[in-house]
């Protein structure tokens, strides 16, 4: 026996199969959810470096090329945890697919390589920071450039007295001559320089080269010695007789950002070009 089926009449509305209608509504809802969530996930494309050059991030030592780095980084922050100067931060929502991926902001806190052994590289569980390098001078993070020569104190023939940056600046550095193991805020040091050479004297590569020249390679390991210079002050001769010097970046620069961090001018006269490496310049 079949149930009576109401037939469409000219006066009444067409019959509605409630189950079918609900199934259809649910299908549409589900399709909406599928498109919605997948759509949101693709918003991660928007802030990528290739779409917006200014969002390029300085990556930790050993980082693979940006695309490979973002692919292989598992966004766990183990590199953050081992860095003695707490230089590494993790990307956020506005980094798109770089959400959770490690980066440095050189001006705030550069890498000073004082761990010697590239702890972040050793901590990386995926090799997004490649395990093929072991020493600071093998790193290719970027390349320093004197972006605002007109601000550079050395070029103006000026010295530097007092604290680097200002009293509120939190950037840290491990000065081997003060304390090998504890990073101290750079603001704790007073400088009195006849001609400003803060960038050169804070360059981890130059510090290492000097230690090696003195016969004390970092961690007692001669392999730690960088073969090439990274930065030096060279005389500027403008015929005025005043002593002026200019920082010159050499092939040994790895782009750690220490010079940018300590540059006392505002904005920093020397900056890191993230998309450049020693080989590419």
């Amino acid at each position: 026996m079949s149930k009576p089926v109401s037939k469409p009449t000219e006066t009444g509305p067409a019959p509605v199969n409630r189950r079918k209608l609900e199934a259809r509504r649910r299908f549409l809802r589900t399709a909406g959810l599928a498109v919605g969530i997948a759509g949101v996930s693709l918003l991660g494309f928007i802030p990528l470096p290739e779409n917006r050059a200014q969002r390029m991030r300085l990556r930790p030592p050993g980082a693979l090329d940006e695309q490979d780095y973002l692919a292989s980084c598992i966004k766990c922050g183990q590199c953050v945890q081992v860095c003695p100067v707490e230089a590494i931060k993790l990307g956020d929502l506005l980094d798109g697919f770089g959400n959770g991926a490690a980066y440095l902001d050189a001006r705030t806190q550069a890498c000073d390589f004082s761990c010697d052994g590239l702890q972040c590289v050793l901590a990386c569980p995926t090799g997004a920071l490649t395990h093929e390098i072991a020493y600071s001078h093998q790193t290719r993070m970027g390349f320093a450039r004197l972006a605002k020569p007109e601000l550079c104190l050395a070029r103006l023939g000026l010295g530097f007295q007092g604290k680097v940056r200002d009293a509120a600046f939190d950037g840290k550095f491990r000065y081997a001559e003060i304390d090998r193991w504890n990073p101290i805020p750079v603001r704790n040091r007073d400088f009195d320089l006849e001609l400003c050479d803060l960038c050169v004297r804070h360059c981890p590569i130059e510090i290492r080269r000097q230690q090696c020249a003195e016969g004390n390679p970092p961690s007692g390991d001669p392999d730690q010695c960088p073969p090439l210079p990274a930065i030096s002050l060279e005389p500027l001769d403008d015929g005025s007789g005043q002593v002026r010097m200019t920082p010159v970046v050499h092939k040994g620069c790895v782009g750690c950002g220490a010079c940018e961090m300590v540059c006392p001018t505002e904005p920093a006269a020397i900056v890191i070009d993230i998309d450049k490496t020693a080989e590419a310049v």
């Binding site: 959810l33 991660g44 692919a71």
Partner: protein
Amino acid sequence: MNLFFESLAQLLGRAPRKPAKEQIKPAAQTIHFRKRGEKFDAAESAAMHAAHKSNKWRNRRWITLIAVNLLFVLSFSLDIQLLEGALTASRFLGFHMADLNSALQVTLAFKEVLINLLIGTVTIFLLWWLLGGRTFCSWVCPYHLVAELAEKIHLWLVDRNLIKGYDFHRGVRTFFYVTFGLLALVTGYTVFEFISPTGILSRALIYGPGLALIWVGALLLFEVFVSRRAWCRYVCPIGMTYGLVGLFSPMRVVYDLDGCRHEGECRKVCEVPHVLEPVLKGRATDASVPIGADCTRCGLCIDKCPTGSLRFEIKGLSKLL
């Protein structure tokens, strides 16, 4: 009926099927037959539930979940280095551990098998294979905990007719699983990690909050006002990955048909009620039926059951003891 394939089909999103009579084992048939003549007094059932108030497994689970996440947080903030990293990948006392789904996304995006990751993946696979697969979801995932709270608000609102809850087709989770896999493969980015509330919350707890929490908040609002436990039920590929592990896991919830009064209270508290299909009258295919792989082993149903018809079991171990 093959329980393994039924479990897999349900995990992928198919609705549970009513077993044919010949698929029901004689032991279960006898009990079903007996129960057909029995009338369960609803008032008596209600009294049993009122007398049986237990949060044993929920409390154990919440303590575990908070302890694990706290261990991550303290390992970094106090520098005790027991459990370093975040839920996506970590080191426990120096041993590599990698979330299976995060490792999968990275491998698909990077298209290379990374050795350390492989070690961590095998460790975690063995761990969650032993512990039951989606056990990760309810016992470790921090999003699960906040989603449970959102669920309580949602149910409170629905109860008072202030809102209407909507459901979706569960098959959409399989769609997401394939889609996020393909997106990683094609784009070369770990697209899912961008929106994974598990990763975002874990990192926010350990490294400090960020803007990404806005997305987690939006998901929770959606679950409060629109759809109960939507992320865990319909979207999360992490749950799917661990569900696939759970297919083979010896650790599971088991349903005993004999003492059950079929009130259905267990299904009301369950995040994935389709796995509790056997508790419906006449559906159990055996006197004892293991619950499927989509089960998160959260134990809410066990807490709820006044007759002890649901219990945890480690396959093989009970026979051994």
